[in-house]
Symmetry: C2
Subunit: 124 residues, 2 copies
Amino acid sequence: MYRIPILQMGQTLLVTIQVDMQDQMALALQDDLANKISRSGAKGVLIDISALEIVDSFVGRMLASISGISRILDATTVVVGMQPAVAITLVELGLSLEGVRTALNVERGMELLAHDRREKPLAP
Amino acid sequence: MYRIPILQMGQTLLVTIQVDMQDQMALALQDDLANKISRSGAKGVLIDISALEIVDSFVGRMLASISGISRILDATTVVVGMQPAVAITLVELGLSLEGVRTALNVERGMELLAHDRREKPLAP
């Protein structure tokens, strides 16, 4: 089966979604990401969706679920590169991407993750 | 038409190739990359092919041609993430990816680009 590659850059994992997601692919991605976070100890996950022209409720749920899984594994997820038209449609559809953080592009997403890491105090 | 997204991170552009390339797509990618290098002034191009299970002479030529275009625009191209089986097949087929630099993964590719930038003396 076709799997979406996960690139590691330091403490951050980067996923570029380029094709329309199907059930199996979304499940495989969640699985692969969870494994990779746990193996690598990554602190951040960047998901680039700049290639997507449609984000429906299925993709919205997938993004929320990846965010949730990452959070439990102590990593922050940031969705980047959303096209303006996609944002408009999401709001019109009443999909608010609850619990999903976003940034304009990969660079801003990286900054957000770096800022987050600096803010987080060490466990007492 | 489906276009492969190009992500910018500082002075580096990152392209993840996830699907089998066709003529039109390869031409569009070359075009987009050339434009993006010239607009952004990027110094490096990382092409991740970890998702590809087959690299034939068409893809090989595309990688060589992207390297050539980037070089003229004063950017270095590094192909990263090649699967071991792909490397074996390439050599067996007699395709040596002439003029294409490679690195094991994105992180090593980034290091190579950073190292290159430090080495290059400023124009006299």
